[in-house]
């Protein structure tokens, strides 16, 4: 087995924290694209987006389970956990930008980029050394700011190597986390793919495989072992205008037609900021309120991932409320900016979660 860069449990925990950050970072752009679709239109696209975003939430939770299993403490309230968009993701030798933008061909290209299977050409190219551009960067090598992984796949590959390496070194001791901190299926429902508790090397690797398999697929297969279509291919259906079905080869779906109406989306401002909304306006207040609710929500998730998994059941109505708040913003034009609608900004500088949630998070 090629050698692992991850040499200590602390490093592994750091990687897993970054994995959670990475999984979460896909959620705002996917959600905005989904909610920007005008109601009653684009059923095919809306369902593809919904499935993917729901599974990203599963990946976030699986990462938290692995982190908990190795004695870590997931914290989604750390400043910077949510990147300021546009965020940068590694794509081989270069980065690509992930914007918060409406459903569009551009957005789809970005999503395909996010989920694209990316294997480094050789061991030497797994890590790319390059001066950082500005903007939040995901998939970096912890502790070394100018070093990033060739792809997200390689980043997870490193986690897998680290898990195996440390398990060889430390044995079952590696999985020192309390079982009560694991989120199990009774508290969580994702759609495709089942949440699993991580208690040993086998379940840890299975969780990592589920994340990769649902995202970009494993070994060039379009379906994972649960017979679920990987995210990349789900998105590709929108581009190619056809659904995949069992037996299809990558790039050549043969199922029923997919129809996409690229224009049936609200024209929301790309990477909107609070300063885009007139101060004192209702939009401004709604955008500020959304950021507060989202911060509260992340605190609630943090509490759930720290020994109170039943909070996830309460998180469901909370998510319906978040959806309603997002819809409020994106259904309204920005005053003075003809033909441009508002959007949530996901800015959290100086936003403090409500004490009730924050206390739960710390407790």
């Amino acid at each position: 087995m090629p050698s692992s860069r991850i040499k200590s449990v602390e490093e592994l925990r750091h990687y897993l924290y970054l994995a959670m950050q990475l999984e979460h970072a896909t959620i705002p752009p996917y959600l905005l694209a989904l909610y920007s679709i005008r109601p009653g239109t684009n059923s095919d696209a809306a369902h593809v987006l919904r499935v993917v975003v729901v599974e990203e939430m599963l990946h976030l939770t699986l990462s938290a389970n692995i982190l908990n299993a190795v004695g870590g403490k997931p914290d989604l309230t750390t400043p910077g956990f949510v990147p300021l968009y546009p965020a940068a993701l590694p794509d081989g030798e270069t980065d690509f930008k992930v914007d918060l933008q409406p459903f569009s061909k551009d957005a789809l290209e970005t999503f395909l980029h996010i989920e694209r299977p990316g294997k480094a050409p050789d061991e030497a190219h797994r890590l790319i050394s390059r001066k950082r551009e500005s903007g939040a960067m995901l998939g970096v090598c912890p502790g070394e700011t100018d070093l990033h992984f060739y792809s997200i796949g390689e980043f997870y590959e490193e986690i897998e190597r680290g898990l195996k390496h440390l398990h060889e070194k430390e044995g079952a001791k590696l999985f020192s986390g309390a079982i009560e901190r694991q989120v199990t299926p009774e508290f969580y429902y994702s759609g495709g793919g089942e949440l699993l508790a991580v208690t040993d090397i086998k379940s840890a690797l299975a969780a990592a495989h589920l994340i990769i398999g649902q995202g970009e697929g494993l070994g060039g297969e379009i379906y994972n072992k649960e017979h679920e279509l990987a995210h990349f291919y789900r998105f590709e259906q929108l581009k190619l205008g056809k659904y995949y079905q069992a037996g299809d080869k990558p790039g050549a779906p043969t199922g029923p037609p997919v129809s996409v109406d690229w224009d049936a989306a609200y024209p929301i401002k790309t990477n909107a900021r609070l300063e885009d909304y007139p101060s004192g306006s209702e939009l401004h207040a709604a955008a500020v309120a959304f950021n507060q609710s989202y911060a509260d929500f992340l605190a609630m998730l943090t509490a759930a991932y720290n020994g109170k998994p039943s909070l996830l059941l309460e998180a469901v109505p909370q998510m319906f409320r978040l959806r309603n708040s997002i819809n409020q913003l994106i259904h309204n034009p920005i005053p003075g900016k003809s033909g441009v609608n508002a959007a949530p900004t996901f800015e959290f500088d100086g936003v403090v979660a409500k004490p009730s949630f924050a206390e739960e998070a710390i407790a």
Binding site: G40, S43, D44, H47, R50, V51, V54, E55, P185, E186, Y189, G191, G192, E228, L229, Q237, Y243, Y244, Q245, G255, P256, V258, V316
Partner: protein
């Protein structure tokens, strides 16, 4: 669940005519779907004739139904489904008061009265499960022995113990969420270690508030004291799978159906428009079973094909073929006539359409019972405002109720009932929340904040009890046909004659007293009022009540022990025609206090076994 692409267009009527199928099934509702699936899994070739509109089931097609419902002003059971003159459906809004001697023929069901029923069924792919509530109650052991125990109705030729294994098969197929310990009452038993496929749906906050107020209250009936509490209902909607199900193998919920892979509907989200249509297909509908059957590749489906005549060989009584009319366009009366041939034939339309087709085909009727003994639960609504906010309108439609009076010795004199607590408030009774909005805006000139506040105050305290009252078979309650009443394709329409039996009215009168007692215990303000001009208004012992239909149609080709007392045997096979099976509620000799679908499904599993045996 993948609906095989092209299933509704692959089969041409001419091609079907050239084949002798193992089984020809009329109707793609839960009965037809279960039987088609069971037979095709045993290698049998099956043809399904569906009267409703064609087209493969896709998620976006399902959403067309959903958006049609959202946009409809009337949110009745048929709101999602476009009217179709070639396969018309009764609508609850069709019912009018009937003038004695003057049949009401203004809508699809011709009603002789005297009682005007607002009962409905849905003629689309998946049948009436496309609007059902998905309450999945078993019948009680005593329901099968009404004659022996209470001197009422007739005993069934099968009992609870006989049906138990088939109830379990139906619970798997439908995907039932319930708590086993809570469902052990009034003699219902289960094999050691049995659990339902999924854990129960949690009781709503409203249920819990009602439970707090009434728990421990005792009522006395026929010398027996009944202690009351709120219990959750078994539901045909996806909940949290029970890992102990199937000896520890667990259960995988079946989600939405489409021609492509979708991940939706694996869990109920608590939306509150289960009736008529679940937004995510967490509620079971028969297309889930139909899709499985189609996946075998041995099931052909002809949509927009209305069975119009059953032909028999007069010497042997065997059915030779079924004639059907295929229409291209629901708006046009044009059709072509086709013929379906098979070794066996299954009518699985419903308890009105099955006898309608048999009577229109002038089939022999040895017992004289085809179309007779029509039953449907009589619903009595009672509504009140709770003193405290109860979160009414948080779904699903109905999670809990009071079931203690489903059985007992009082049934020798009066009807039993089951009580639903409606999470959708006064929706059924007066049209809430829309009616609340209209009255606050139009009559009280409310707007803005005060409108919002008053709406919340009014709606979140609404409590509605729906009493599902037993109706016994009565030969004069019946379906007939009359050549002077026909639909657009020329098929004879059903003619209904119906009276609410006195036995039921005694139960109704007691239900009203019972509601008043409960409201008293809860400190709730009773707003119930029955309007004498209501089409369902019935007086009994000087009091008037508005009765609603339950869409739980049954009885019209009842099963029994002999050719003389019934239309089918306990395996649903016609006494008069050895290769004809009559599936659905029509075969039930009585309905007790369970929504009929669960028992219909169980009987179909049992009958499918006999069909396989007959075919081999």
């Amino acid at each position: 669940m993948i609906f095989p692409s092209g299933s509704t267009s692959n089969t041409a009527a001419q091609a079907a005519a050239g084949e002798i199928y193992d089984a020809v099934i009329v109707g793609s509702g839960i009965s037809g779907a279960i039987i088609a699936n069971e037979l095709s899994r045993q290698g049998k070739r099956v043809l399904i004739l569906e009267a409703g509109p064609g087209g493969d089931r896709t998620l976006s097609g399902y959403e067309d139904y959903l958006y049609r419902f959202y946009a409809a002003a009337s949110k009745d059971n048929q709101a999602p489904y476009p009217p179709n003159a070639n396969a018309p459906m009764p609508r609850s809004s069709d019912a009018h008061k009937i003038t004695p001697g003057q049949p009401d023929s203004s809508a699809y069901l011709v009603q002789n009265g005297p009682f005007a029923t607002d009962t409905t069924y849905t003629r689309v792919l998946g049948g009436t499960t496309m609007h059902w509530e998905a309450k999945v109650l078993r019948m009680l052991p005593e329901d099968f022995e009404m004659r022996t125990r209470y001197g009422q109705a007739e005993n069934w030729p099968v009992n609870y113990r006989d049906l138990d294994p088939y109830y379990r098969m139906a619970e798997r197929e439908i995907g039932v969420s319930a708590d086993i310990d809570e469902q052990k009452y009034l003699g219902m038993t289960y094999p050691e270690g049995y659990v339902f496929p999924m854990r129960k749906m949690p009781l709503s906050y409203l249920d819990r508030q009602v439970d707090k107020g009434i728990r421990g209250t005792k009522v006395e009936l026929d010398g027996t004291s009944y202690e009351l509490k709120v219990r959750s209902f078994p539901q045909g909607r996806n909940g949290i799978p029970n890992p102990d199900y199937d000896g520890g193998n667990g259960f995988v919920p079946v989600g939405a159906v489409s021609t492509n892979q979708v991940e939706e509907g694996g869990r109920c989200q608590g939306n509150n428009n289960c009736v008529p249509i679940c937004p995510v297909q967490a509620k079971y509908n028969a297309v889930k079973t139909l899709a499985k059957a189609l996946q075998t590749g041995r099931v052909d489906l002809l949509p927009q094909s209305v069975a119009s005549k059953i032909h028999i060989d007069s010497a042997s009584g065997r059915v030779t073929h079924i004639e059907f009319k295929t229409y291209r366009d629901p708006k046009s009366p044009d059709f072509t006539t086709g013929v379906a041939r098979g070794k066996i034939f299954v009518l699985s339309a419903n308890a009105i359409e099955n006898p309608r087709l048999m009577l229109a085909s002038e089939l022999p009727n040895t017992s004289g019972l085809i179309g007779r003994n029509l039953m449907d639960h009589a619903y009595l609504l009672s509504w009140a405002l709770m003193p405290q906010v109860c979160g009414t309108m948080r779904g699903t439609n109905c999670t809990g109720g009071i079931v203690e009076l489903r059985g007992g010795s009082f049934r020798s004199k009066q009807a039993a009932f089951s009580v639903d607590i409606h999470n959708d408030g006064w929706g059924w009774a007066v049209g809430s929340p829309y009616s609340d909005l209209i009255s606050l805006v139009d009559a009280q000139n409310k707007f803005g904040k005060s409108l919002r506040r008053d709406l919340v105050d009014r709606i979140t305290r609404q409590l509605q009890f729906a009493f599902m009252v037993e109706v016994l078979p009565s030969q004069s309650n019946r379906v007939t046909v009359d050549p002077s009443y026909r639909d657009q394709l020329g098929n004879m329409r059903p003619v209904i004659s119906y009276t609410i039996p006195e036995y039921t009215m005694r139960g109704v009168a007691y239900a009203r007293q019972f509601a008043q007692l409960m409201f008293q215990r809860l400190g709730a303000a009773d707003y119930t009022a029955y309007d004498p001009s209501d089409y369902g208004y019935v007086t009994y012992e000087g009091q008037g009540y508005a009765i609603r239909g339950g869409n739980h149609l049954a009885g019209t080709h009842r099963m029994g022990t002999a050719k003389s007392n019934s239309v089918v045997n306990s395996e649903l096979r016609s006494w008069d025609h050895e290769n004809l099976y009559l599936a659905g509620g029509g075969s039930m000799p009585s309905i007790g206090t369970s929504n009929v679908t669960h028992t219909i499904a169980a009987l179909c599993f049992r009958s499918a076994k006999s069909m396989v045996a007959q075919l081999s």
